[in-house]
């Protein structure tokens, strides 16, 4: 864990989601690589392994709502297991060296998942989940985030009901998300003729097993883990108790600050994407019109033949 300090992100509250390479990813290069660059012969191959990122608070910080036992198991065994398994899976393949988000999108393979997907996605999901919580969290969001929630759900209470009901109805293992969705069609010739801010909305979505909204090109801002296991320690996990767990999460653990920060990043990312598309389109138009302009000038040099 100490090894990650050298390359750890500047702010634990703002994870790198989807900004590929813009922020530091959870990857650490082995010391052997540096040694090699310095000209020392090393037997071990170059490999970029993922490290188990710790939650941004001590393991007992969420007591009494989520016990230290629960977290040390959930993070220390399950999350760690995913990291170790992924590292074993990518060694020597062309996934080795890619960022976590890239591995996820690639191995999702449009639904026909490849072996690395489950582990990679679960690592990302859990990182995101730990960072979605904070000691003495809960309460209500504020500012832009609250405004957007009220615009897209009617009221914070409505959103809360929707979120809880999604968590209760996810059958089997999975996750429930609040995500920022920029409504665009993912085909070349589709363009929204009257784009407006209303097209970008917050939505509640649920996903099974390891799937997460990155694969649908959404930008998640909040998540809750509704896999059964680790909750069994402190919540005997039947349907009714799952509702208790979700309530506890919403009322006592959610870090609305983090969610707000993620929303800002998501909005910025969407705006950036739009600008790039505009530039591309404008660039194409520009090329066309300059051709036409040249022809026009040529034509206008000719005297009117009717004369």
């Amino acid at each position: 864990m100490a090894a990650t300090a050298a390359v750890s992100p500047p702010c634990a509250l703002v994870p790198c989601q989807g900004l590929r390479g813009a922020l530091v990813s959870t990857r650490n290069f082995h010391a052997t690589k540096n040694q090699r660059q310095r000209g020392r012969a090393v037997a071990a191959p170059i490999s970029a392994k993922f490290d188990l990122k710790p939650p941004p608070y001590p393991l007992d910080a969420l007591e009494p709502h989520m016990s230290q036992d629960t977290i040390s198991y959930h993070w220390g065994k399950h999350h760690r297991g995913y990291v170790e398994n992924l590292n074993m899976q990518i060694v020597g393949t062309d996934l080795d060296g890619m960022s976590l988000e890239d591995i996820i999108i690639l191995s999702y393979n449009k639904g026909d998942i490849l072996p690395a997907f489950n582990n990679a996605a679960q690592i990302w999901n859990h990182d995101f989940f730990w960072e979605s919580m904070v000691p003495n969290g809960g309460g209500k969001p504020s500012g832009d985030l609250l405004g957007l929630i009220e615009r897209d759900f009617g009221s914070f209470e409505n959103f809360s009901v929707k979120f809880r009901s999604a968590a209760s109805t996810q059958f089997g293992s999975g996750w429930v998300w609040l995500a920022y969705k920029a409504n665009r069609l993912n085909v070349g010739n589709a363009s929204n003729p009257r784009p407006s801010d209303e097209d970008k909305k917050l939505v509640v979505v649920k996903s099974p097993n390891a799937v997460n909204p990155l694969v649908w090109d959404y930008l998640p801002v909040l998540t809750i883990d509704v896999w059964e296991g680790p909750k069994c320690i402190s919540f005997i996990f039947s349907q009714s108790r799952r509702a208790d767990y979700v309530s506890m999460f919403m009322e006592k653990l959610v870090s609305w600050e983090t969610v707000s920060a993620r929303l800002e990043m998501a909005k910025a990312q969407v705006a950036e994407r739009e600008r790039e598309e505009e530039k591309r389109k404008y660039g194409e138009d520009n090329v066309n019109s300059s051709n036409e302009a040249v022809e026009m000038y040529l034509d206008s040099n000719i005297e009117d033949p009717a004369e």
């Binding site: 059958f171 099974p208 296991g229 320690i233 039947s238």
Partner: protein, 265 residues
């Protein structure tokens, strides 16, 4: 025993002694209360509702210690399995067409060839858990015998091979699901099959002989994340080969497995 339709439709009886000695709590019946005003006899009393009851495992809840603790069974059976039964009953209250099916038929019909109806999850989970409790016994494990062993050796090479395959399937199942030893009707052979969430091999007309619940709620309280230990405990100490034998004997009435296995005297 086995997957017979032991959940008879209720015929408005008030006394319901179950064949295994468990008594049904009348409060869980969905028979509407007789509503009597002064001198008024409600016609609702004659409405027949089909319902499913929570069938208890064929052993006491602490009988599987130390491999499956009483506390785990109380949660798994008393809360989860019970929850599925209640959920199913609630869903069936609203639906005339489905209430008259037996549980087997209900599972197949609501599976709807892979596009499941809302009742499927509950119905299948009720079926799955009944089957699962019956697949275990105190003092289980060990090896199957006679004809069953011969069939396993025929289809897997050896019992050890089968055991390895089963364990491997349980460990590689991601998320929630079940691992089954099935008799495939068309291919007329045994196979190890894993299914997700509530899915069940009777949906495609195969004959399950034994199952293992790999939902996390089935083992977490005793084994935490160590699914391998759980599977090994199941295979070595819990699985009831007697029950599996009985099930395959019944299955042979429907699937021709070749010459009868007459044990040599």
């Amino acid at each position: 025993m086995g997957s017979f339709s032991l959940h008879a439709s209720c015929l408005a009886k008030h006394n319901l002694p179950w064949s295994n000695g468990c008594s049904q709590n009348l409060n869980s019946l969905r028979i509407p209360a007789l509503q009597r005003g002064p001198g008024f006899l409600s016609r609702k009393a004659s409405k027949i509702l089909a319902f499913y009851g929570l069938k208890s495992p064929p052993y006491a809840l602490d009988a599987l210690e130390p491999y499956m603790s009483k506390r785990l069974l109380e949660t798994h059976w008393g809360e989860h399995h019970h929850g599925y039964v209640e959920g199913l009953n609630k869903q069936l209250e609203k639906n005339d067409i489905l209430y008259s099916y037996t549980l087997d038929e209900l599972v197949k019909v609501t599976y709807n060839n892979g596009n499941p109806l809302p009742e499927f999850n509950n119905a299948a989970q009720v079926w799955n858990h009944d089957f699962f409790w019956e697949s275990m016994q105190p003092g289980g494990g060990g090896m199957p015998e006679l004809g069953l062993l011969q069939q396993i050796e025929k289809d897997f090479g050896s019992f050890t091979n089968f055991k390895e395959k089963f364990i491997e399937a349980s460990l590689s199942l991601f998320g929630s699901g079940w691992v089954w030893l099935v008799l495939k009707r068309q291919e007329k052979r045994l196979e190890v099959v894993k299914t997700s969430n509530a899915v069940n091999p009777i949906a495609w007309d195969d004959i399950p002989l034994m199952s293992l619940d790999t939902w996390e709620h089935a083992y977490y309280q005793d084994y935490k994340h160590d699914r391998g230990k759980y599977v090994n405990a199941f295979m070595n100490h819990l699985v009831s080969w007697h029950v599996v034998t009985a099930r395959i004997i019944r299955a042979e009435a429907f699937v021709n497995l070749g010459e009868p296995k007459i044990p040599v005297a």
